[in-house]
């Protein structure tokens, strides 16, 4: 990187407070054309706030933003866009009822006279889709695409409006390894065209592959900005967390107790077939599969959120019929879904209300809430799981960071006293520090006798937390490993359909 050039973007001493709480404290960042700057920090470090200020979503309380050396004012996303700044948010923003092509050109539909030029819409969409070698038909409706395809459309969209600065918030969180490669290919093409990229990710291992420099934030403050060559992932993690991290020890797995959850030939043709497995008392079983292997759908079926066609579920050796989440809860099964914001939490309810949501029966007496008991129980879980929030148990969960939101979902099922906990991609979009924390909590819960089934496409996650690992390939279980036998290569091979 030629540091003598003037930066394309300079953010100087940016400050921001929410409800009096400082979120950013004089943070500076600069960005040069054609580089990838990794913006790193734990959840709550202020990354999201910083990029929302850059996008005109939030107004800064102090500091200046310069583009090409000129002071700019960014009052709304339109302003940012006019300056060639483009966000790709972690939660994808798209119109499900419109076509891919229309979504690509949303707000910029080409016209002929007063009318939309549909031929141009098609042509432009095709051109940009082809640029990324993506085979998504431009006329397909967004709602009919898979999550991955939707994300790719978002990325193409940034290309289509010829952004000079593209901010990517966790772009690989939902991607399989092969798709990450495709994305990186695209990012390198963007760089070659002198586009500058701010890259936010919690997957530290991918940072050296793609970033030129890193800027690290912690607790709303700027900690360091260095060329990537000067840091390894371990040092990055240390700067982010601000304390020495110890490698999670891979102890031998504790012996599992008697089976709590048992599946026998659970089948829904096309999604998952012939799934038989057991999870014992105090055991953490991980299911690893590449995206679309059917493991996510399996969890939804066990919890009654989707159906299964044949097979049997046993709890403590007794066959149970599960047709709805209510049945599952009665049987003692808790479920932490992949998309906590949509499926897991009521964002506008408080932490207390979310924690006690599945357990109102016990916390009320003759229809009245026993508010004090409710608070006490919530506080207990907040303390035990280390849920951090600004305003106590009455904070709306909307304002919590991803890791803390996930812990609230966890707390709900613990409060409801479940015997089996099923987690689907439990740390998707959760930062390293909170991740390790959640793993430790799960470990502790298992030690107290909970049976835990974790389903994930993140190989590190499955390896570090599971006592026993199953792999799924095309809807079937393809292999089983003990903790001692499992390795990254063996899991990947089994999940990809090769011989274990």
């Amino acid at each position: 990187m030629d540091n003598n050039r003037r930066p394309l973007l300079e953010m100087r001493d940016i400050s921001k407070r929410f409800f009096g709480v400082p979120v950013l404290d004089r943070v500076s960042l600069d960005l040069y054309a054609g580089e990838v700057l990794a913006l790193l920090g734990e959840n709550g470090a202020g990354k999201s706030t910083l990029i929302k200020i850059l996008n005109g979503d939030y107004q800064k309380d102090g500091g200046d933003i310069y583009l090409d050396g000129e002071l700019v004012t960014l009052r709304e996303p339109r302003d940012a866009e006019a300056h060639g700044i483009r966000m790709i948010y972690q939660e994808l923003h798209y119109a499900p009822d419109l076509s891919v092509a229309e979504n690509l050109l949303l707000g910029h539909l080409p016209r002929r006279g007063p009318f939309v030029d549909w031929k141009a819409v098609d042509d432009i969409a095709r051109k940009y889709l082809a640029l990324l070698k993506v085979n998504i038909p431009p006329r397909a409706l967004m709602r009919d695409l898979s999550v991955v395809e939707r994300e790719i459309v978002e990325i193409v969209k940034a290309l289509a409006i010829q952004a000079r600065i593209i901010v990517m918030d966790e772009p690989t969180a939902a991607l399989a390894p092969r798709e990450v490669d495709i994305l990186f290919e695209i990012i390198r093409n963007l760089q070659a065209q002198n586009v500058a990229i701010i890259y936010i990710s919690h997957r530290l291992d991918e940072i050296p592959r793609i970033a030129n420099r890193v800027t690290i934030l912690r607790d709303g403050k700027h900690i360091a900005t260095r060329p990537i060559e000067d840091l390894d992932t371990r040092e990055i993690a240390q700067l982010m967390v601000g304390r020495k991290m110890t490698e999670r020890s891979r102890k031998t797995a504790p012996a599992a107790g008697e089976p709590v959850l048992r599946l026998e030939r659970l089948t829904r043709p096309g999604d998952f077939e012939d799934i038989s497995l057991t999870v014992g008392r105090g055991e953490i079983v991980g299911i690893f599969g590449l995206l679309g292997a059917g493991h996510g759908r399996l969890t939804r079926a066990i919890f009654g959120a989707d159906t299964y066609q044949s097979g049997q579920i046993f709890i403590n050796g007794t066959p149970v019929t599960i047709r709805s989440p209510r049945d599952a809860r009665r049987a003692g099964i808790g479920f932490v879904p992949i998309d906590r914001k949509v499926q897991g939490l009521v964002l506008d309810m408080t932490v207390r209300e979310n924690v006690t949501l599945a357990n109102w029966g016990q916390l009320s007496r003759m229809g009245w809430f026993r508010r004090r008991l409710e608070r006490a129980n919530t506080q207990k879980w907040v303390d035990r799981l280390g849920i951090r929030m600004a305003g106590g148990v009455e904070t709306r969960t909307r304002y919590l960071s991803g890791g803390n939101q996930q812990k609230v979902v966890l707390a709900r099922w613990l409060e409801a006293g479940v015997k089996v906990l099923i987690l689907n991609e439990p740390t998707w979009g959760v930062d390293v520090g909170a991740r390790a924390d959640i793993y430790e909590q799960l470990e502790a819960l298992a030690a107290q006798g909970l049976a835990i089934l974790i389903v994930s496409s993140d190989i590190q996650e499955v390896l570090s937390v599971s006592h026993r690992i199953l792999t799924m390939h095309k809807g079937r279980i393809s292999a089983e490993f003990s903790r001692a036998d499992a390795s990254e290569e063996r899991l990947l091979q089994a999940a990809a359909g090769g011989e274990a």
């Binding site: 996303p77 966000m87 923003h93 009822d97 949303l106 707000g107 910029h108 009919d144 798709e179 679309g292």
Partner: protein
Amino acid sequence: MNRIESAPLPVPRGRQAATTISLAATFLILVVFFAWRSPNFLTAINLVNLASTLAIVGIVAIGETLVLITGGVDISVGAVAALAGVVTSVLLLNYGWPSIWLCALAALIAGTIVGLTNGLLITRFKINPLIATLGAYSIARGLAFVLSGGQTNLLNDPGFQFLGRGAIAGIPFSLLLMLLLYALFWVVLNHTPFGRNLYAIGSNREAARLSGIRVNRHLLVVYAVTGLLSALGGLINVSQLASSAPRSAVGLEFTVIAAVVLGGTSLSGGKGSLVGTFIGVIILRILDNGLTLLNISSFWQDVARGTVLLLAVGFDQIRQRWSEREARRGQ
């Protein structure tokens, strides 16, 4: 499996088309049934009569369709229509304005102002559209009574009656006006950035905003247009009845919303078409007309209308869930 490397998707225009087809089928069934049961149904006189009653509901339903596509709702349309009629007659009779057309223009402006107010309440003060337009409904209806003193006023200006009763080459003028407006707004919805943005706003408001679409400005225009079209519907009503009454167009909002929803427009926004609304309006009018010809009481007509609405929408929901399940299996 994800589809990135596999065969491309078929173009899913089918869903919208299927709604239109099931609507057209309902339409045909009704026509055949009434033609069979009543010899008067397929006569020229009845058809002209039927056609001349389409315009009021039809024109107001255009605005309602736009509103529903953005994910909102406007229940003030009937009250605005009544207010427009009263404004016209009061300006002409009590204030002695020289021309009824000038009064009608003022009425259209009044309707637009109510619509703009709705839009402002919804965008600036973040009031839920149902509540905002419920308030507007009550205010507009109340003003209609205040201004008219509760009186029905006769307005038999021959020139003005052309609006509601005139015909060109045997086709009712109001119907022609309505067809023209449908054509105009169909082009706006399908072939202008403004129209497409309405779908985007209804489908995902945040996505639209982040794409640089001025969401609030679009909503303001949509509610203002709905106010304008409601007032126009009110004027046609006055012209047809040759009188204005503060009590007129009661329940219009129900008929209009029913027609729009029957036409496949989603109450949750993002989906809908004017072609569907057009057929929805015709189906409801045919139902009323046919049942009247069969001498069935208007009370039973209400029951029949509600039943058709629930059947059509319910059937559509089932079919949609079924096709989504199919799509999921295909992945």
